[in-house]
Symmetry: C2
Subunit: 549 residues, 2 copies
């Protein structure tokens, strides 16, 4: 590394998460933070940045008096509400690490995470007490804290020291001057929930979270007069960092708590939400709900960043009719998560509408700060020609360079590049397209078939609510694709054989004959992972003999 001439800038000023809250509570002190807890059995909390910051400082003082020190790990189990949001600052402001627990993981995995991280304490929502109890029983936590609107109503027969969050708020002072923390210290942590093996720990630094916040604002353009809804679970890769970006800008924050598609739709409309982020797994049922509303609801340009999986074309077009505009973005737990966002270049805007839409479905351009490349299995870089398929490798200041204390780091990192496991093309304009998970690509007669392309085109058909395509063993072609389809309500009574032919005809408009699935199975539900993605490993297992006879 080259050392140059000394600068006269305040370069030792540390980028710390608490400074975002300190800023917002001062400059945007009376901007609202609304927290819904209806479905958790609680009430709606109407707070402000100033009030929330006071609560944060009270909890910090409480944690400190309970023995928490810089570097300690504290796990949080909860829904997207003000208390979870507060823990992003109350814990990290002490230099401790806020550990995000995905409540949908198997108990064994959650237990592993607590042990692997050596967590000292657990904060849990009243509605998740049944998950918290065995975790507390099996781990040597120093204490746990119940987050509830009315603790007296909660059955918490729990081993060890238990405190009530709101009692601590009442007992401790809101006076606190946070100290500067080395910006390279971990602030939060999230364990990946892969379908194979134990979860792997990603520990995000204060620095990475703040740089990422600025970067995501180059995509979301959040402004002080925006209303941001935190839809992505705050335990999924830092809730995609969007609530951090929104706090940086002093936007009004809306936390929907535990929600159904119906309650979410109502909250988005009532609060006049103008910017949000979430996965198609949320958007698909949300659209179904909006379609049923009478009169037809209309948002005044709700900017919605969609990630996790490619949003189906039909979904994007139909949401647009409700005033919801999708920007497709891509990232992962290991990348904080923003890697690419589909911002149109001027030359794209000059294309025919059809081609523009085609382009909008791609994962998008890498944002500045993140470097990407695609490589063949030998590690050779492949060209950005829109055709070459390789594994996507990612590097940058908010990208992991290893897993915490994990042998598997060796397999997934090389020279500070993270090997994403995603098969991608990059076109000459720099737009990344994820073709498949490398392990989900289907190899049929020596040719590659992308399961994702087939799924998305299937989901563009009006009869299809969800579709998943996997490769299963075939005596002649090695592998052949099959599809699982969940039909829309109004198609469920039709003849399945006719529907299968209809969908195959639909696919043949776009795909060569050898690419079309051999069989389409109509199912009520497609197995999903804890993060809402199709669990293709399970599907492949269930259907492994589908084409064997």
């Amino acid at each position: 590394m080259i050392k140059g001439f000394p600068s006269t800038m305040n370069d030792d000023y540390q980028l710390n998460l608490w400074k975002i809250m300190d800023y917002a509570a001062k400059v945007h002190y009376d901007t609202e933070i609304v927290s819904y807890r209806n479905l958790q059995g609680g009430k709606i909390h109407n707070l402000s940045y100033k009030e929330v910051y006071d609560r944060i400082k009270r909890i910090s003082n409480a944690l400190e008096s309970l023995g928490i020190k810089a570097g300690d790990r504290i796990a949080v189990l909860g829904w997207n509400d003000h208390r979870y949001f507060e823990s992003y600052f109350s814990i990290t402001g002490l230099g401790a690490v806020m550990l995000q627990l995905n409540q949908r993981l198997h108990l064994n995995d959650l237990d592993y995470i607590l042990k692997h991280s050596e967590a000292k304490a657990l904060l849990f929502d009243e509605s998740l007490a049944d998950i918290a109890k065995p975790l507390i029983k099996n781990n040597k936590l120093e204490f746990s804290i119940l987050m509830s609107d009315d603790p007296s109503k909660v059955d918490v027969d729990i081993k060890g020291k238990l405190y009530n969050y709101e009692d601590l708020i009442k007992s401790f002072s809101p006076k606190k001057n946070y100290e500067e923390i080395d910006e390279k210290s971990a602030a939060t942590a999230c364990y990946t929930s892969g379908t194979t093996g134990k979860p792997k720990g990603v520990y995000y630094s204060h620095r990475s979270l703040i740089l990422h916040g600025w970067s995501i604002n180059t995509v979301m353009n959040i402004k002080p007069d925006d209303t941001f809804a935190a839809i992505v679970p705050l335990f999924h890769a830092n809730g995609w960092g969007a609530h951090i970006a929104a706090t940086m800008m002093g936007a009004k924050l809306v936390f929907p708590g535990r929600y159904t598609p119906e309650s979410l739709a109502n909250i988005l409309l009532k609060e006049e939400v103008s910017v949000a982020a979430g996965a198609p797994a949320i958007l698909i049922p949300l659209l179904e709900v909006l379609r049923k509303f009478d009169p037809k609801p209309k948002f005044n340009n709700l900017r919605f960043v969609s990630g996790a999986t490619e949003p189906p074309l039909a979904l994007m077009l139909q949401l647009k009719e409700f005033g919801i505009n999708i920007t497709h973005a891509y990232g992962a737990t290991e990348t904080t998560p923003l890697v690419t966002a589909n911002l149109p270049k001027k030359k794209i805007k000059l294309l025919k509408e059809e081609e523009q839409i085609e382009n909008a479905r791609k994962q998008g351009l890498p944002v500045f700060g993140v470097e990407v490349k695609i490589t063949d299995p030998a590690g050779n870089e492949l060209p950005w020609d829109g055709k070459s398929i390789g594994e996507l490798l990612i590097k940058g200041p908010w990208v992991a360079k290893q897993y915490y204390n994990d042998e598997r780091s060796k397999e997934q990192f090389i020279d500070n590049w993270w090997k994403s496991g995603d098969a991608a093309t990059i076109d000459p304009n720099g737009y990344v397209k994820i073709v498949d998970r490398i392990k989900d690509l289907i190899k049929s007669g020596g040719e590659w078939i992308s399961s994702i392309d087939l799924e998305n085109y299937l989901m563009a058909h009006p009869a299809v609510l969800e579709a998943s395509v996997v490769g299963v063993p075939h005596p002649k072609w090695e592998e052949r694709p099959i599809a699982l389809v969940v039909l829309r309500e109004e198609y469920k009574n039709k003849d399945f054989k006719e529907l299968e032919n209809l969908l195959k005809d639909h696919l043949s408009k776009r795909f060569a004959k050898w690419q079309i699935p051999d069989k389409i199975f109509f199912v009520n539900e497609i197995p999903k992972s804890s993060t809402g993605k199709f669990d293709k490993k399970t599907i492949r297992n269930l259907y492994k003999d589908a084409l064997s006879k």
Copy 2:
């Protein structure tokens, strides 16, 4: 400083200026960079990011072969064209420091800057050879480089080694892999051009410039499909960092070269510029030109960040009719420069239009990352009540904590806070309003009068093109305000006594009688500093006896 738990992020990834260009040249390789040199006697250059990056790497290789090493300072004297832009990356990519020279400074000051910085080389534009020659003669530079479209036509009888920029481009390879540079190393430098004493050196780190780039994008929201015009001189506090922010986003760049208000207006229209930044000193003559165009030109929402001085209300309203929308922002050489930007909160948007406009004239909200406070002369912090006037102090990761090798650092910095010398109020909503320079506040009979408020209200009158107000000695009241006014063309033939009464009546709509200037002088020109601000020290001197008899 607290040390926490180790993160697993790539926290040692250095934020380097060259990575912005490396990114843009890859992801936005064919996006245009247009450089106008008509008024410098050259041609229009139509380039792309890829082509400009190739040129940058060639110049880096040339500089290296000429002996330039990390840490060396290299001065640049030029207009806003592709070559100046290139030097932001070619010099800094080597770990050397790109020193911005303000061609409008006195030769003695420029000479001082070269000696104080111990510059090793000078790059200069052909049209500024007359300034370069004595500088080269009086300094022990190792070499200098002439930037010209056609060096054969330039009279350059220059002492010492002289190279032609375009010859170097031809002679050296575009192959170059930049190394990582410690992000706390200086990348660029700018000397403040205060009216008193010698210039003071501010050296910007790679880190500060990149963080600032992200931050300015939270205000300007530059997108890949934008066209950005670099109007602020690239030697004024890094051209306000806007071209760096635009490159981060891969926007089309337009460099107007040396320009007149007419040529600038034509360039903005022809290139369909959608985002820019500049001072009212540029906007005022630009508006005059646009008013003369027939048919009336109309921009499709040109987002324009206005800084340096408060934009007059009339200017903002009239530019709006041409489709130019002003966002008022504030900063200084010592702050890279962004400190505040006038983004409206939701509660501001609910106000009556008149009150909204009133608020839009303020310097705005501090952006996240920058801390501000106002203090009394004893250093006590004053409340954010919109009334208390104090000196504005500023701290943050892109704010200087000292001047380079300068005794005066002691007076202007305290605990990493920079004392701006600006008198300001901050209202409860966090909007900063610069009332005056502390030394320009007028003290009349024990009361403070803001010269800036009077100026701005004067400039809102249709007869007034420019107005400057200063306090001059008064036998009874200690000081009293007087005004200097430049009339609009169509008012220049009117009776001056009548006009004076007219303007005093105008002021009395808003100001108390004791606040209104005793005399208004109609002049052809108001003395200005090298940065285009009113030179009040000179004005006060010229008019010091105006009220003494």
